[in-house]
C-alpha cells in the first residue's frame, strides 16, 4: 500500500527539507518516533507517507526508478546515492530524491545544449573543477568537456548522470551556504566527492571577480600589508558570494574556494615574481638577439640597453629607446629598414583600473624598466609619436625627447574609447598635450579588441601636423587604449569569463611590443611626408627634428616606408611575447607617411587596421 505523494506534496516536502530541516526533525515534528527507515511500518500517516515516498521512489513515473538504479551505479563512484542511513539523512530523504529525479527528468527532456550551458555556467559561477564532476559521475573528462563547451552529443544515460550530479550539487551548495554559519555539516561538501574516498578538498581557484579586485589592488600597491590583505580577503569573499548569488555573510559556503590571507599573500607574491620574470625576459630580448636585417624583428640595435635614453623627457616616456646616437643604429640597421627603433614604454600609470589591471601593472613595470635601463624594453611603440614628429611643422619647438619618445605611450592600444581622447589632445599644441597618438598597436587578443581601427590612428595623426612633435604620450592616452584593450580582454564583469589568461597574455605581449613607425623623412619636412624612408638620423636636420635628436644624434627613428599603402613598421615585437591566441601577429603599427594629400589619414593607411598587436613575435615585414 503505497500512496503516492502528489507532486506538489513532494515539492513542498523537498522545500522543507531543503530549508535545512532534517528528516529526523521532521519526523519528530510529525510526532512519529519511528524513523523513516522503518519502511512504512509506522503509524498510518507517517507510514503512508514514508511508504509512499518509498513507493514513489520505486515507481517513479517515468521509470525513473530504473534510471535511478543505473544512475546509482554511475553515481556510486562519487556520491553514494543510497548510502547508509547516515547519508540518507543528509540526502534529504526520498522525497527529495524523488524531487531530484523529477528535475533530472525534466532536464533530460530539454535541449541538451541549453542544459549544458546551464551546467557550464554553474560550474563557472562556483568555480568547480571539472575533475570533481568526472570523479563523481564517472563520465569521461574529455567527453564532458566537449559536451559542455562545444555541445558534443552525450547519451541520455550519461546526461542523466551529469544532471543528477548537477541537481545534487546545487543542493549541496545551497546547504553549504545556508549552514555556513553553523559549520559545514554536509558530509560531502563541495570540495569532497566522497568523504570516504579521500579527505582532500578541491584545489583552490581564483574567481574572476576576485582577480579583478586583486589586480586593482596590485596596481595600487604591489606589496600589501597584512591588514590590507585581510581587507582584500573580505572583499574577495564578498564578491565571490555575490557572484554565486548568496549573501556575503555566508562566505563559509565557498568551501574550497574560500579566499584567505594566505592565498592573497601568495597571489601577490606570484604576481611580483611574474613581473620580475617578464622584466627579465624583456631584458633578455633586448640584449639578446642581434638586430636582424631589414625589418627584422626586434631591433635591439638600439644601443646597449644600459644606456639611458638621451634626453629623454622625463615625462611619461621612459622607455624611449633612442637608440643612442645614430651611429649605433645606423650601423645596425640597414638603411632601408627602419633603423632605429624607438620604443617607448609608457608609464601608463594611469591605466584605469577597471579591467586593466594586469596590463597596467605590466606597463608600469615596463616603463620602469625602460627608464632604468635606458629603454631596453620595447614597449609599444609610439608610432604615433614618431609619426607626429614628422608631421609637425618645423617651426614647432619641442623638446626633442618629447617628440620621439614622448609620444610613445608605451602601449598604444587602440581601444574603442581612444579616438576621442586622442583626437582632442592632439590638437593641442605643444608637447604638453600629450596624448600621444596612441599607437594603435595593440590589438588585443580579445576579439573585442580587434578594432584597431584606423580611426584611432587618424585622430592622433591629424594633430600631428599641428603639433611640433608628438607630445609625449600622456599616460592617459596610452592607457586608455591599453586599458580599453585590457578591459575588453578582461571583461569578466559579471561574467565568468573563463579566459582571464588570455588577458594575461595580452598585456604581456603588449608590453613587449615595440612599435615604431614613423615617417622619419618627414622630420625634416615635417609637413610633407615623403614616402621615402630615410633614416631618421639623416633627416634630423630639420629644426624640429633637431629637437628630437637633441642631445645625441638622432635617435632612432623609425621610418616608415613611405609607401602609401602602409608604411608600417613593425617593431620587432619581442618574441617573448606569449602569443595571444587571437591576436594577429607581428603587430605593426602602420604609419604611413603619407603626403599631405593623404592628410590625416596618412597615418593610418587605409583601413587595414594597421595596428596590430605585437603580440606575436614575428616581425612584421615592413613594407619598404
Amino acid at each position: 500500500m503505497v500512496s503516492k505523494l502528489s507532486q506538489l506534496q513532494a515539492e513542498l516536502l523537498a522545500a522543507l527539507l531543503e530549508s535545512g530541516l532534517s528528516k529526523e526533525a521532521l519526523i519528530q515534528a510529525l510526532g512519529e518516533p519511528g524513523p523513516y527507515l522503518l519502511a512504512g511500518d509506522g503509524p498510518l500517516d507517517k507510514g503512508e507517507s514514508c511508504g509512499g515516498s518509498r513507493g514513489e521512489l520505486a515507481e517513479l513515473p517515468n521509470g525513473l526508478g530504473e534510471t535511478r538504479g543505473s544512475e546509482d551505479e554511475t553515481d556510486d563512484d562519487g556520491e553514494d546515492f543510497t548510502p547508509p542511513i547516515l547519508k540518507e539523512l543528509e540526502n534529504l530523504s526520498p522525497e527529495e530524491a524523488a524531487h531530484q529525479k523529477a528535475v533530472v527528468e525534466t532536464l533530460l527532456q530539454e535541449d541538451p545544449w541549453r542544459v549544458a550551458k546551464m551546467v557550464k555556467s554553474y560550474l563557472q559561477q562556483h568555480n568547480i573543477p571539472q575533475r570533481e564532476v568526472v570523479d563523481t559521475t564517472g563520465l569521461n573528462q574529455s567527453h564532458l568537456s566537449q559536451h559542455l563547451n562545444k555541445g558534443t552529443p552525450m547519451k541520455t544515460q550519461k546526461r542523466a548522470a551529469l544532471y543528477t550530479w548537477y541537481v545534487r550539487k546545487q543542493r549541496e551548495v545551497a546547504q553549504q551556504f545556508t549552514h555556513a554559519g553553523q559549520g559545514g555539516l554536509i558530509e560531502e561538501p563541495t570540495g569532497d566527492e566522497l568523504p570516504t574516498k579521500k579527505g582532500r578538498r578541491n584545489r583552490f581557484k581564483w574567481g574572476p571577480a576576485s582577480q579583478q579586485i586583486l589586480f586593482q589592488a596590485y596596481e595600487r600597491q604591489k606589496n600589501p600589508s597584512k591588514e590590507e590583505r585581510e581587507t582584500l580577503v573580505e572583499e574577495c569573499n564578498r564578491a565571490e558570494c555575490i557572484q554565486r548569488g548568496v549573501s556575503p555573510s555566508q562566505a563559509q559556503g565557498l568551501g574550497s574556494n574560500l579566499v584567505t590571507e594566505v592565498r592573497v599573500y601568495n597571489w601577490f607574491a606570484n604576481r611580483r615574481k611574474e613581473e620580475a620574470f617578464r622584466h627579465k625576459l624583456a631584458m633578455d630580448t633586448y640584449s639578446g638577439p642581434p638586430p636582424g636585417p631589414g625589418p627584422g624583428p626586434a631591433l635591439p640595435a638600439h644601443s646597449s640597453p644600459g644606456l639611458p635614453p638621451p634626453a629623454l623627457s622625463p615625462s611619461k616616456v621612459h622607455g624611449v629607446r633612442y637608440g643612442q646616437p645614430a651611429a649605433s643604429e645606423a650601423a645596425e640597421v640597414p638603411s632601408s629598414s627602419g633603423a632605429p627603433l624607438v620604443t617607448v614604454s609608457t608609464p601608463l600609470h594611469q591605466v584605469s583600473p577597471t579591467g586593466l589591471e594586469p596590463s597596467h601593472s605590466l606597463l608600469s613595470t615596463e616603463a620602469k624598466l625602460v627608464s632604468a635601463t635606458g629603454g631596453p624594453l620595447p614597449p609599444v611603440s609610439t608610432l604615433t609619436a614618431l609619426h607626429s614628429l614628422e608631421q609637425t611643422s618645423p617651426g614647432l619647438n619641442q623638446q626633442p625627447q618629447n617628440l620621439i619618445m614622448a609620444s610613445l605611450p608605451g602601449v598604444m592600444a587602440i581601444g574603442p574609447g581612444e579616438p576621442a581622447s586622442l583626437g582632442p589632445t592632439f590638437t593641442n599644441t605643444g608637447l604638453a598635450s600629450t596624448q600621444a597618438q596612441s599607437v594603435p598597436v595593440i590589438n588585443s587578443m580579445g576579439s573585442s579588441l580587434t578594432t584597431l581601427q584606423p580611426v584611432q590612428f587618424s585622430q592622433p595623426l591629424h594633430p600631428s601636423y599641428q603639433q611640433p612633435l608628438m607630445p609625449p604620450v600622456q599616460s592617459h592616452v596610452a592607457q586608455s587604449p591599453f586599458m580599453a584593450t585590457m578591459a575588453q580582454l578582461q571583461s569578466p564583469h559579471a561574467l565568468y569569463s573563463h579566459k582571464p589568461d588570455v588577458a594575461q597574455y595580452t598585456h604581456t605581449g603588449l608590453l613587449q611590443q615595440t612599435m615604431l613607425i614613423t615617417d622619419t623623412t618627414n622630420l625634416s619636412a615635417l609637413a610633407s611626408l615623403t614616402p621615402t624612408k630615410q633614416v631618421f638620423t639623416s633627416d634630423t636636420e630639420a629644426s624640429s627634428e633637431s629637437g628630437l635628436h637633441g642631445p645625441a644624434s638622432p635617435a632612432t627613428t623609425i621610418h616608415i616606408p613611405s609607401q602609401d599603402p602602409a608604411g608600417i613598421q613593425h617593431l620587432q615585437p619581442a618574441h617573448r611575447l606569449s602569443t595571444s591566441p587571437t591576436v594577429s601577429s607581428s603587430s605593426l603599427v602602420l604609419y604611413q607617411s603619407s603626403d599631405s594629400t593623404n592628410g590625416h589619414s596618412h597615418l593610418l593607411p587605409s583601413n587595414h587596421s594597421v595596428i596590430e598587436t605585437f603580440i606575436s613575435t614575428q616581425m612584421a615585414s615592413s613594407s619598404q
Binding site: S19, F177, C241, Q243
Partner: protein, 104 residues
C-alpha cells in the same frame, strides 16, 4: 533579526545591483524596489519555489511582495524600514536566484 536595514547608497548600488540586473531584476520606477518575474513549468514548481523562498524569508525575517498565478511568480523586493532597497533585499534576491536556478 538581520541588521542591515539601511538604505543602500549609490556606491553600494553600483556594486551590488549590476549582478542582479544581469539576471533580470529591474528597478521599479516611482519606487525604490527591484522586481522580477519568474515562470515555471507548472504550478507545482512555482509553488515549490515559493515555499522555499518563503521559508528563507522567514529565516531572514524579510519578506517579499509577490503575486502568483499558476506558473508565474512576480516578486518585488523592498525594505519597509528604510523605504527603499537595503542589503536584505539583495540577500533575498540572491537567494531567490539560486533557488530559481534549481527549479528551472
Amino acid at each position: 533579526m538581520a541588521g542591515k536595514a539601511h538604505r543602500l547608497s549609490a556606491e553600494e548600488r553600483d556594486q551590488l545591483l549590476p549582478n542582479l540586473r544581469a539576471v533580470g531584476w529591474n528597478e521599479l520606477e516611482g519606487r525604490d524596489a527591484i522586481f522580477k518575474q519568474f515562470h515555471f513549468k507548472d504550478f507545482n514548481r512555482a509553488f515549490g519555489f515559493m515555499t522555499r523562498v518563503a521559508l528563507q524569508a522567514e529565516k531572514l525575517d524579510h519578506h517579499p511582495e509577490w503575486f502568483n498565478v499558476y506558473n508565474k511568480v512576480h516578486i518585488t523586493l523592498s525594505t519597509h524600514e528604510c523605504a527603499g532597497l537595503s542589503e536584505r533585499d539583495i540577500n533575498l534576491a540572491s537567494f531567490i536566484e539560486q533557488v530559481a536556478v534549481t527549479m528551472t
